[in-house]
Amino acid sequence: MRIFTVLGIIFYASILILIGAALIVSSFNILQPQDINQLFVYLQNSLNSRIIVGLSGLLLILVSISFARLILGGYQRQKTIAFTTSSGEVTIALNVVEDLIKQLSSVIPEIKELRPDVIADKKGIKVELNVVLKSEANLPELTARLQDITKAKIQEVLGLEEEIIIKIHITKIIAKEEKEKKRKDIDKNESAIPFGGYGRV
């Protein structure tokens, strides 16, 4: 899917670049209207070239439609998880799952920040977790624990038996030294205030 997205982006970027280049060329008077006219006359004179132009147009329309569907389809897929009960449909916004995962940072003390990104498709629920850790912990153990807790919590709250894939990216580890340094800097700044010791009684 990503390859198609990249191809689509390249396609649209090249078309826009071509239009931009044509405008620049025409502003420098390098390309005359007659040249463009000649090109169109040439294309219309021969049956083969007309077929090629027509097919190119059709191809452009098909590429545009498929690209739009790819983007819109992906967007729709990423919005909700839905299931049907006897009384109707239940739709769960994916930001609900993200909020749920964010609350888990209070369960594991080593985690400073948790930024989840949840995608739901036919295969199941994919969760990408960007984690900032407070201190140096045993990463394999911690990440395995985080994966287990996240998976269990999603299954418990959503009650769904779909496959849950959890990817973890540790984006930063805030070392103790760094934290202490920051604290010292704050203390220094506070004491450096001129006449800071003179307070009103």
Binding site: S87, G88, E89, V90, I92, V96, L100, Q103, V157, L160
Partner: protein, 117 residues
């Protein structure tokens, strides 16, 4: 939300406004333990900016007189969403049937958020 469900009685016509159906659904939904509050849609938020409160619950009555209700919900953290949704659907159905005698087609739930109580 401008539709009214009409029924004929011995003395005349009884019409129930969609807002009434939405209010009943809202009350029945919030009765369930685990429901934090009714969510808000874009339309209701825009009206709120203008100082008017409207329900974000959508009510639709088809040509045959069947009622479909769409309820956005915010659920308390730690609750089982399908279980709460089922309870809400059941309670809303019972409340609507009891109070309005309408035929309920669908009660659709959209869980918009999760909040810690």
């Amino acid at each position: 939300m401008m539709h009214r469900e009409e029924s004929q009685s011995h003395y005349g016509t009884i019409s129930i406004h969609n807002n009434v159906i939405a209010s009943i659904a809202s009350a029945a939904a919030t009765e369930i333990e685990g429901v934090k509050n009714i969510g808000s849609g874009l339309k209701s938020r825009l009206w709120e900016l203008l100082g008017k409160k409207i329900s974000s619950i959508k009510v639709d009555i088809d040509a045959a007189g069947y009622v479909s209700v769409e309820i956005p919900l915010v659920i308390k953290y730690g609750c089982n969403i399908p279980e709460i949704s089922n309870k809400v659907q059941e309670n809303v159905r019972l409340a609507l049937e009891k109070m309005t005698n309408l035929s309920i087609k669908n009660i659709n739930i959209t869980v918009q958020g999760i909040e810690k109580s």
